[in-house]
Every structure is written in C-alpha cells, then in structure tokens.
C-alpha cells in the first residue's frame, strides 16, 4: 500500500508526493479524517488527487494512503429504493449515523452488510458458467426480482450452490476455475465506475420508451436504448419534465441522478415517489428507483463522479436483461465540475474555460447507453436509455455543453422560456425540437397503437408549422387579411397546442396519458378540423365556428379518466357534428 504526504492543497485538489507506486485513478484516503479522493494525474512521484469531500483543515505533511483500487460501486440486492451520494455512500444510513448534516470522512458500505436476502438458486451444481450467467434470483421487493449474475470475466464450474438467507457478502456457493482453484460465490459485485460494463453486442434500438407524455411519445419519441437531452433556461420546467419521465417511463428501472441541483428537489422525489403507483405494476414507483443525489452544496469533485456512479448501476441492471432509464439533472453542473478541476490542474482551457476533453467525456457518457445483447449464455436483451438535462447559461444553447451534447444525442427537447411564461407546460418548443428515432419507431407505433399514427403526427406538425408562418402574416397585416381556411388552421393549431401538447403534471388524470389516448385525442382534434373545414366549404362563418361551445369541451377532453375517455370522446364527436350542422351555411 503506497503512502505519501501532502505538499499542496488548493480547494478540492490535493497534491501528494511519495506516490510513485500508486496507480492512476486509484482511490486514496487523505488526511486524518480519511477523506476519499482519486488520483487524476501523476508527475514523477507526485500525484494530483481530486478529493470528494471538503478539504478544509488539510495541510502539508498530512498522510495520503492509496487503496490500490479504482473508484468502484457495489452492485447487488439492496440498491433499489436507496438514495446515494455521488460516490455511492448511502445517505439514509449516513443520516442515521451522523445526523441531518453530512460530516466528513463517514465510511459506510453502499449495500447493507447486515440484511439477509432470500437467494433462490436457479443454476445448479455442475453447471458451467461464464460472466453474465445467472446463479439465481433475490426477490428484492414486490416488483424487483434481482438476478444474481456471475461477474464479467467469470469462467468456471459450479461446485456448490444453495438457496437460503444470505447477506450480500456471504458465500452462497463455490466455483472451481479451469486452473483448479476454487473460490466462493457471493451476491455482491464491484465494478469501477469509469469503465463501461461489457456486453456481447450492441443492437439498433427499435422500440419506444413510453413515457405517457404527449410531447414525447407522439411528437418527439425516444427509443429504449436511445439518448435524449433537455436543454432549457431556468424556470422553463426542466425538472418537472425530468420528474415526469422518471415517474412514468415504462422502464423496469429508473436511476435518477441529481447532479449539482437543488436539495429540495431530491427531497421531493424521495417523498413523492413512494406515494405514486406505477401504471405497469401497481406498486409504488420508488420500488424500481435508485436515486443519486449530489446536490449543489455538496463537494464538487463528487459531482463529477456522480454521473458515472449512476450509469454504472444502470449498466448492471441492464445486464439482467432489463430496460433501464438514466435521468441526469443536470449535465451542465457536471461539466462545470470538470471545468473547476481542470482549472485547478492549470490545464489549457478550451471554449469558455471548459477543458478540451469536454466533448469526448460527454460522448463517452452517452455512448454507454444502448440496446445490447447482454453477457451470459441466455442471450437476453437489455436497454439503457440516457436522458440528460442541460442548463445553458441564459438559455442560450450556443454554449459548449449544449453544443457538445447535441452532437451526440438523437432526441432534442428544447424548452422555451416564452412558453413557460404563458404557462404552456411542458414548455417543449414544437418547432425546434426533434427526434431522430421517429422513422425507426414508426412501425412499432403503427403495429401496437394505430396504423395511422405517423400520418396523423405528420399532419399535426404540418398544421403547427403553418401556424408559425401565418402568425408572421398576422403580425404584419392583421387577422382580417387571412382566408377562412387559414383562420381555421390557426384555430386548429391553437387547439393542438392547448388541448394536446399542454399536459398538466399535477392533474391525476392528465399526468400520464397512454399512447392510445394520445392518438385518439389527436384524432378528435383533427376530426373537428375536417368537420369545420367542410362547414366552411358550405359557407359557415369562421367567427362562429371559433366560438362553438364544443371547443371548450375538446379543451377538457385530455383530463377525461383513462377508463372513460372513449365514451367522452364519442360524445364530443357527436356534439361537433350537431353544433356545426346547426350553424347551417348557405346550402
């Protein structure tokens, strides 16, 4: 074990000498308080260390001890429903140990070492196993059947494997290696966070992540295994969108990384998720959720690590053959942590002081998403979807983090503060947002929801872009200059915006909208368009059409409960017909 002495302390950066034998990226313990740090540079026998805790009180000559291992996470039963900090320290256990504020040098294992889980063996004696093969399962809670897998790189034959109650470090069996050595099998694995977990092959994503959000599923869908970003200025509702995605995504697991954001937001998730029922399982949402909280007042270096911690846990869950969504709020804060460390290392800055390797680091993060054939003999398929919020300064996405992200991700949900001021939520701008998965996912929607899905969405988008053009004309010459059919386009576009795109996260019946209801709602609005267009053809007055009472009812259609909406929509259709025919016309 290498032991060195501190020669320099500057904020979260510590330089120690006598570290020649330590490895790059080793975890070290710093000072008497045993602060956790990581070696990020070596110069001769001097190691530059980023320390994950507040460094006040460190001085020259303090001891630095290398642990000889890279920064790793513990993987196994007990992850679910937990809240960790950026380097996977369990925050609830810390609270119980040291009180409501986080003190330094707390050392608690990420997975509870005392708790016993019932392990049910599915493999048996004599089975040959390779990395990724399943030994058995642990029923972690009502929803989660946690597969206990052989860690990557395993190769051997099971000598012994017994069902029963075990802690995560108890031996559950024995494995003999080809070279004749025998080792214990335990449930817990460790994996270094900066290395992607292996898989057999990557597959092109072809299935949407259903989120119950009309803006997402209908307009700008993201694939299971895809990547998406949400840039937006403050106050545009980024966090609400992220929370909605975390709540309603049809992923088996959700990892929510609060990276340099508000403490109260994490508390909100912690208090709210246990109360919400998962539409898929009926059980509470927290059962399938892991939270990583490195709030903005927590040490900045741990913020840099937090996204890796989150995505490594996600990869492990993906390896079980599951669909996992990682939601990171916000990647800009992560990039700022990178910038701060880079500045302290006196590296030559790139754009706006960010390090030159910003883009490649971001790309590495998002590239860990994907749909994959997992390791193991049973060819299971897992998917990891990565969704990152970006907080561009002043909402201007020409800044480096937004631009670097846009080059990588396939879906862009651009939030717009002017929509937010009008309380149009989610404030996703329909004109500049995009999804490159649309065509690839269309067959799925057409097969599983409705055959006219794409056609209908394309039509809605056409109406919305026509509105933008017509608005320009109205601003110049006034609305009277428009023809009746153009005015109808404006009315319908308004209806699509207000009655379809707007979705109330607080309303119990509108917060989650299943794809079929999304489709039918849009059909209803387009039905009104077609009927009104015919009425105009026979001479009906557009002013009168725009004042029809049924339009208010269309406006409320989205909050019809899922069980009853079909009847309600049918009634509205009948009312559209009745009211339009009462307008008459000149025939």
């Amino acid at each position: 074990m290498t032991e060195g002495r501190i020669v320099k302390v500057s904020g979260p950066l510590v330089i120690a000498e006598g570290m020649r034998e330590a490895n790059m990226f080793d975890v070290v313990r710093v000072g008497e308080a045993n602060l956790i740090g990581e070696i990020i540079e070596m110069h001769g026998d001097r190691a530059s260390i980023q320390v994950y805790e507040e460094t006040a009180g460190l001085g020259r000559g303090d001891r630095v001890v290398s642990t000889g291992a890279p920064l790793s996470v513990e993987l196994g039963p007990g992850l679910m429903e937990n809240i960790y900090d950026g380097i996977q320290r369990p925050l609830v256990a810390i609270k119980n140990a040291v009180g409501p504020n986080i003190t330094r040098g707390v050392d608690l294992p990420a997975l509870d070492r005392e708790k016993k889980w019932y392990f049910e063996a599915t493999a048996k004696r004599g089975d040959r196993v390779v990395g990724g093969d399943v030994y058995g399962v642990v029923k972690e809670n009502e929803v989660v059947r946690h597969k206990i897998m052989a860690p990557p790189g395993t190769d051997g034959t099971i000598e012994e494997l017994l069902s029963g109650y075990y802690t995560v470090t108890d031996p559950i069996g024995k494995l003999s290696r080809p070279d004749g050595t025998v080792e214990n099998i335990i449930m817990m694995q460790k994996w270094p966070v900066r290395v992607a977990r292996p898989y057999k092959e990557k597959l092109p994503p072809n299935e949407p992540l259903i989120t119950g959000q009309r803006n997402v599923d209908s307009m700008f869908p993201v694939a299971k295994g895809g990547t998406a970003c949400i840039p937006g200025p403050f106050g545009s509702g980024k966090t609400v969108v992220q929370h909605q995605l975390a709540k309603w995504s049809d992923a088996d697991f959700v990892i929510y990384i609060g990276c340099g954001e508000r403490g109260n937001e994490m508390t909100d998730v912690l208090l709210e998720f246990p109360e919400i029922a998962d539409p898929k399982t009926g059980s509470s949402l927290i059962k399938r959720t892991v939270l990583i909280a490195n709030t903005s007042d927590m040490p900045v270096a741990a913020r840099e690590a937090s996204v890796y911690t989150g995505i490594t846990i996600a990869e492990y869950l993906r390896d079980m053959g599951c669909s996992v969504a990682v939601i990171a709020d916000s990647t800009s804060r992560w990039a700022e942590a990178l910038r701060e460390m880079s500045g302290r290392l006196e590296e030559m800055p790139g754009e706006e002081g960010y390090p030159a390797y910003l883009t490649s680091r971001l790309a590495q993060f998002y590239e860990r998403a994907g749909m994959v054939r997992c390791c193991g003999s049973d060819e299971r398929i897992g998917a990891l979807t990565a969704i990152g919020a970006v907080s561009p300064p002043g909402g201007d996405i020409s800044e480096p983090v937004s631009q670097a992200t846009l080059r990588i991700v396939k879906v862009f949900w651009g939030l717009d503060s002017s929509l937010a001021y009008k309380r149009h939520f989610p404030a996703i701008n329909w004109l500049n947002s995009y999804s490159l998965y649309k065509d690839r996912l269309a067959p799925w929607y057409e097969k599983n929801v409705a055959s006219d899905w794409m056609a209908q969405i394309t039509e809605a988008m056409r109406i919305l872009s026509a509105e933008a053009e017509l608005d320009e004309i109205v601003k110049l010459v006034g609305i009277d200059a428009l023809s009746a059919s153009d005015r109808l386009t404006l009315e319908v576009a308004q209806s699509i915006r207000e009655d379809f795109l707007q979705q109330d996260a607080m309303s119990p019946d509108d917060s989650y909208c299943p794809p079929e209801k999304q489709h039918d709602l849009l059909t209803l609005i387009l039905y009104f368009r077609d009927a009104a267009s015919r009425a105009i053809g026979t001479g009906a007055d557009i002013e009168k059409i725009s004042e029809l009472p049924v339009r208010e009812r269309i406006g409320r259609a989205k909050s019809a409960p899922v069980a009853e909406y079909k009847r309600e929509f049918a009634e509205i259709r009948a009312e559209i017909d009745a009211e339009l025919s009462s307008l008459g016309g000149n025939r």
């Binding site: 500057s10 001085g59 003190t103 700022e336």
Partner: protein, 454 residues
C-alpha cells in the same frame, strides 16, 4: 501560543504570500499583526509546500512586509452564536458594532456550515402570507424556500423586501419570524432604510443585522452572507425559530469573489466571474430549508440587481438555477407607477404547488392562478399587436384580453407598499378581474370550481 511568522513575501490586491510556514491547514483563519499592533484577519487559500497563499478580509493599507507578523489560529473562520444576537448589529465579520455588551456565545460555529443531507430535508409546504397579491396569489412563498428578488438599479426592491419582512406570517399560528439581515456592500442610506423600517415596526427586537457597507472593504463581503447564515442556522435549527434571511445585494458579493479570483489569475468563466461561481452561490443558497430534528426553518430572500436589467447575466442566471423561483421587478411597470412593480410573467415560485389549495389557501387557488397567468400573457400579446396594427385589427375577444391585462396591472399588481391583503382578498380580486372575460375562456379552471366561484 501560536507561532508567529515574519515571512510575508508578497502582498498584491487581496492576496498575500507567506513563506516558510509549517503546519498550516487549508481554509485556516490567520491573523496579521500590523506594526501598529492592529490585528487584521485572513484566510488560507492555498497551501503549497511551505508557502501559503492567504486572502485578506480587510484592506492591505499599512501592511509592511518587514514588520508585520502572521499567526494561524488552528481553525477556520468562526462565528460565536447566541440567542442574544437578536436585536444586535454586527459588522461584516461578525463583530458587534452597536456599542452594546460583548456577546456571551452559546456556541461557536464554522461559517462555512456543512451540506444538509437531502435525505433529511423536510419538504417546504407551509404557506407564508406576505400580503402581496403578486406573491401570495401567483408566486406563493412557503417556509424554507429560497426566493430571490431580481431587481435593477433604481427599482424599489428594498421596499418590497421590507414589506415582506413586515407583513409575512403563517396563518393560524402566532409564531413570529426572526429576521436575519445581511447588508452586503450596499450604501448607508439603503441599510438605514431597512434599519429604520425595522425600528418603526418594532421588528428590530427580533432581527439580527450584519452590515457591510459600500465603504467597507470589498473582500470582507465574502464572509458577510456566511456569517448571517450561520446565525440563521443557529436560530432556526438550534432554537427552533422561523428565520427569514434577507441578503442584499448578491451582485456585490459576486463582484468581491471575482476580485479574489482575478487576483489569483484563475481561468475566468463568463464575464470574468470565476468558474466556481455556481458552486459558491449554491453553498449559500442551499443553506435555506427545513430539516429533520428541528421545527425551525430558514426562508431566504436574496436580493440582486441585474446589471443592465439583463436576466442572462451570470449572477441572476446562476442564482435562478439554484433558487426555487424568482420575483422579477420590471422597470416598465414601475414607470406606470404601479407598486410593487413585479413583472408577473417571468416570476415564478417553484414550491407553490405544495403550499396552495384546499386546507392551505383555498381550493380555487391553483386554477385561478394558472388562468390569470394565461390571460395576462394573452392580453399582453394582444396589446403588442395593437401597437403595431391599431385596435381595430383585434378580434373582440382579444380586445377583452387587452382590457384585462390593463386592469390586472392597475389593480392586482398595484397595491402599494403598505397594503396588507389577505389571501382571500387576493383570490377574490382575481375572480373579479377574470369576469372581464367570458366564462368559456376559463379553460384552466376545473368545471366544479368554476361553477362554485363564477
């Protein structure tokens, strides 16, 4: 006794380099003994071998490399705290300046505090009635929230902050707020306005004041807000009080930070502010809140003036990303003579949803709030169109919206600094204004609520 060093090598701006020191820790508090015997304070910014870079908290005038001495105290910057602080006035470094007796500390706290574990925070949800319609009705403040006021030079943010401090209450309780006030680099007149307002209303007895005036050393400002927050934390979490922290002006704080950063020749972020400005501001703002194990709370109203009224300037921008909303003041509304001149549309309270509704304010609160926002936004759009094309170009409904937006500004926004409206008055006024529009436009309000209140 601490060792004294006579090895000051350099003094430049707020920084000082001391050579050949031993056993000095990062972030340690140091004391400089001037040739005259005067003692000034400093803090360790960097330990590099046997060299130490320190940041002065006071001016370097009179510092002499040959005869000045430095000693290090073995601990960080601390503040002695006590319940007796209420009613007292301190300078930016936490020393009493009101001529009163020396404080007998009940505890001594490091001014940097420690982060609150997110798992032990209590979510803020208790409605605070400020008596200001634009806040109570549209941007509701709750206990434990941090809600800044974004202002511009020449706008009456001080009056609004004083009005909130004067009128704020939680209904159904007679608990009073203690106020911790931090003046950061503001003028004597502005500080005096607050002090005399607190005196007039008797609030001074439950107020702790930390005063760093524009004439005081700029670098002292770096500690002033942390002193105030340390006092607030003691009162809230040790004495179970509800504390309202008002800090003005954060822009001056950020500028002091920039001064130190520039002197250290750090790679600057936007507009010369250090790259860690976000983290630095967050370690202050995030000290607001409520936590388990204590009934008290810290509600924070930082005030900042936006340079050139630009909301995308780094200081308001980064603040907005950390705080739970913002109240923005508008020069346009102020010119119309409406007080307080709150710019309703870009203002926001993120925590309002959990603080309003049946049992907290009234069941119609959320629906009317959204309706007022949407109607005002549409009215303003209609008015813009009217400027270009004339009133005749508007449809009849747009004309109603335009009228609504005028009335809304004149009656809802405009209330003066001395009118204290109850939440019911605010909500009823909202309904009254909505009657300018036809009932069919009330799409944001649930039908049951609409039928009951329309």
């Amino acid at each position: 006794m601490y060792r004294e060093y006579r090895t000051i090598e350099e003094v430049a701006g707020p920084l000082m380099l001391v050579r050949d020191v031993d056993d000095v820790k990062y972030d340690e508090l140091g004391e400089i003994i001037m040739p005259t015997g005067e003692v000034r304070r400093c803090r360790v910014l960097e330990v590099n071998g046997s060299d130490v870079l320190v940041q002065l908290f006071e001016s370097s005038a009179g510092l002499n490399l040959e005869y000045s001495k430095v000693r290090f105290t073995g601990h960080g910057v601390q503040l002695p705290v006590s319940r007796e602080m209420l009613g007292r006035v301190f300078n930016g470094m936490g020393e009493p300046i009101d001529g009163g007796a020396k404080l007998i500390p009940e505890a001594v706290r490091d001014i940097n505090g420690t982060p609150i574990n997110p798992a032990s925070r209590k979510y803020p949800s208790e409605f605070i009635e400020t008596g200001v319609s634009t806040i109570d009705g549209l941007n509701t403040l709750v206990r434990g929230q941090k809600l800044p006021i974004f202002s511009g030079s020449g706008l009456p943010h001080a009056n609004l902050a004083a009005q909130i401090a004067r009128q704020a209450k939680v209904r159904g309780t007679d608990e009073k707020f203690a106020v911790v006030f931090a003046a950061i680099g503001i003028t004597f007149e502005e500080a005096d306005f607050f002090i005399s307002d607190f005196k007039k209303t008797g609030a001074i007895d439950r107020t702790v004041l930390f005063i760093n005036l524009a004439s005081d050393a700029a670098i002292e400002r770096i500690s002033t807000p942390r002193m105030a927050l340390t006092a607030a934390e003691y009162l809230a979490f040790d004495c179970n009080m509800h504390v309202l922290v008002i800090m003005t002006d954060i822009t001056n704080y950020a500028e002091a930070l920039r001064e130190v950063s520039a002197a250290r020749k750090e790679v600057p972020g936007r507009r010369g502010y250090p790259g860690y400005l976000y983290t630095d501001l967050a370690t202050m703002y995030e000290r607001a809140g409520r936590r388990e194990g204590s009934d008290g709370s810290i509600t924070m109203i930082p005030i900042l003036t936006m340079p050139e009224d630009d909301k995308t300037h780094p200081i308001p921008d980064l603040t907005g990303y950390i705080t739970e909303g913002q109240i923005i003041l508008s020069r346009e509304i102020y010119r119309k003579g409406y007080l307080p001149p709150v710019d309703v549309l870009p203002s926001l309270s993120r925590l309002k949803d959990k603080g309003i509704g049946a049992g907290r304010t009234r069941e119609d609160h959320s629906g009317t709030m959204n309706q007022l926002f949407a109607a005002y936004a549409r009215g303003k759009e209609a008015k813009e169109l009217m400027v270009v094309l004339g009133e005749s170009a508007l449809t009849p409904i747009e004309r109603l919206y335009a009228k609504f937006s005028d009335e809304f500004e004149a009656r809802y926004v405009n209330q003066g600094f001395y009118e204290d409206r109850t939440i019911e008055q605010t909500l009823d006024l909202g309904w009254e204004l909505l009657h300018i529009l036809p009932k069919s436009e009330m799409k944001r309000i649930k039908p049951a609520i609409l039928d009951k209140y329309w």
